[in-house]
Symmetry: none
């Protein structure tokens, strides 16, 4: 599946182009397009900030106008912080990426526009997009920079297409949990030694105390290794000292 | 509703502390805690990067150790990029924030730990968290910096609380769970008595064994009553017999 293009419209600082490349590649995105960068292209200042994501810069495509940069795209999204007078659908990053995933899977050309650092997208650019994306921020303090905005959109992209595939997190299923026979043996071991040590006292409370303790062992998510350790602890604590 | 604390553990560069403050405040988060920042605190270098979010820096609380920084919290999440050998639940930022929202709404103390720039959280810190958070990234290129990680977590927080509707998960929220000061005291109690009993043997394996044990205590969903019982069991087991 072809990933969406991230189009930086008239970016000012080379450093921000580099940081954006790096933010993109963190989430597996490598199709950067540049519209009339202020300081020309290529720009040496972009290189250090892109460290490790140089391939995104090397492959970046340069365009003179926004219209040219999105000419081959059927669906174009614009990121914006300001409220706009233009009547246009506004959705969240997550909603946009769910759409973009389906569009990309269907072979459509999809682009995301990011405006210049100071001003954001101008109305001429906004007029060309199909849909606006509004990133939820603190209404008292909305100061995302360009690379941060790219980062959040990239993150939502990978969340959407990844859905568990890319994060190799050991699921609960993979962990070697103790089975009930092992938990029971552990409970018996502790109960017997505690009984000998006079823990279940007074006698009329002993049954309730034993139930509480068994309930705790059963409720805790103990692994096989935990159970071995808990057996070993008890044995060692009760070993006669030299 | 009180928001979660974001705890920067041994951050190195003041600039990154400033950028993290700004990332937090973008999403309405203002409870920053600092554990032993490398260059001391306050740090002038943090100020320019926090521009506009100075109040987050001004209100930041300083602690000597991770344990002190999370002592009043019942639920602590650790952010990590590396795979860990420690057995611990691993969830996504969105899942973590959905839980954190419910916990905060129920008045629980919630903290998110972020490790030092170069190394991330050390095993000693990871051993103290209840749950790990794994941010989905490109497996070929995972290079999120500290402030970017803070940004993504903050973004998920605002997305979650922005939804407005509180989904009640009584299992996690209503039970009277032990806080980290209590878990820590329990871990200390067992570690001290097991040390005296010669459990941590041979000496070269002792640090790893202690980490494993602390990791187990932190990971288990222990209630206040469980902790009392576990203290009582240990005391009674070691009482001299008649």
């Amino acid at each position: 599946m072809r990933s969406p293009a991230f189009v930086l419209v008239r970016p000012q600082m080379g450093e921000n182009i580099g940081a954006s490349a790096r933010a993109m590649w963190n989430f597996g995105l490598d199709r950067m397009r540049l519209v009339a960068p202020r300081d020309g292209w290529p720009n040496e200042k972009a290189v250090p900030l892109a460290s490790g994501a140089g391939r995104v810069l090397d492959q970046a495509q340069l365009f003179g106008t926004t219209a040219e940069a999105i000419a081959d795209c059927t669906h174009v999204y614009g990121t914006t912080a300001r409220q706009r007078d233009l009547t246009k659908r506004v959705i969240t990053p997550a909603e946009a990426m769910a759409e973009a995933r389906d569009l990309c899977a269907a072979g459509k050309g999809v682009a995301f526009l990011f405006g210049p650092e100071r001003t954001g997208l101008e109305n001429d650019d906004v007029a060309q997009v199909n849909t606006l994306i509004s990133v939820p921020v603190n209404p008292e303090f909305a100061s995302l920079n360009l690379a941060q905005c790219v980062l959040l959109l990239g993150y939502e992209w990978l969340k959407t297409v990844g859905d568990g595939v890319l994060t190799a997190t050991p699921s609960v299923v993979d962990v070697d949990m103790a089975d009930h026979a092992e938990i029971n043996a552990l409970a018996n071991h502790y109960e017997a030694r505690l009984d000998e040590a006079g823990f279940f006292y007074p006698p009329e409370k002993a049954p309730g105390m034993k139930t509480n303790l068994r309930n705790m062992w059963a409720r805790l998510p103990l692994t096989r290794a935990d159970v071995q350790m808990l057996h070993g602890m008890l044995r060692q604590l009760l070993r006669p000292r030299d």
